[in-house]
Amino acid sequence: MSSGGPNWFKYASPMAFYPLAGRLIPWFAVPAVVLTAIGLYMTFFVAPVDYRQGDAYRIMFIHVPAAWMSMWLYICMAVYAALGLVVRTRLSSMMAQAIAPTGAMFTFIALWTGAFWGKPMWGAWWVWDARLTSELILLFLYIGVMALRAAIDDTRRADRASGLLALVGVVNVPIIYYSVQWWNTLHQGASISMTAAPTMSRIMLWTLLVMTFAFWAHAFVTSLMRVRGIILERERHAEWVAEMVDETK
């Protein structure tokens, strides 16, 4: 999401980016809805019933994409934070701030659906599985970044401080993941693990991809909408905001 998108130099100024974001939102909102619909249809009607878990495994079609998204959005946030720190463009820090809540939401969804999928599969709401645990830690990292930003009043310092924390976090994510992996195999052995999902038939794989793109589109929409809110908030003294406020009477 961060490759093309808004960081051409011309769009680096919040004022120029605001209308662009406005135009982009419908372009992502429509595919979000369409893809979700297709994904749901495929999840329920196309994917075959799993011989072992019956229909419970359908939860996988939201759990796995949500887990991927939580990881990807954290990395995107860290990239924008790095941009904000190095290149000092305020817009990148705003984007980092806009992405965080959506990332945290996907992490929470991944955890919730993980627990609900674990119940029928292993009979326990919460299983100290390597991936679920690192997902939980990822949630703490998200909350840490957002809490730090909320605690600092000066927006410039808040951007830089939470940006640095996001970078420190992103360096630690692999370390945490592998140490949890090691810890998990140490105590329980590799028997129970989410990755041993049912063998992927082509249809299932497609459903997963469709759902992932649907989530991507959703993340775009929410981040762009939130970044517009942040721009309004921060540029409220600028005269273009005043004009803009008049237009949307």
Binding site: Q53, D55, P101, G229, L232, A242
Partner: protein
């Protein structure tokens, strides 16, 4: 696959529907929240501008 069978989800109705329900609730909720937030900021800015001019 008629409706009632669909609803039962092979006996896992509770888990499947609650997880889908929560996901949907959060995603839609986020959109609604953002839209309301945008309207609030706009109103607030408008009120500030009226006071200033």
């Amino acid at each position: 696959m008629n409706l009632t069978e669909f609803w039962h989800m092979g006996g896992y109705a509770l888990y499947v529907w609650s997880s889908f329900g929560v996901t949907a609730a959060f995603m839609v909720g986020e959109l609604v929240l953002l839209r309301r937030q945008r309207k609030e900021t706009l109103d607030r800015l408008r009120r500030i501008r009226d006071i200033e001019t």
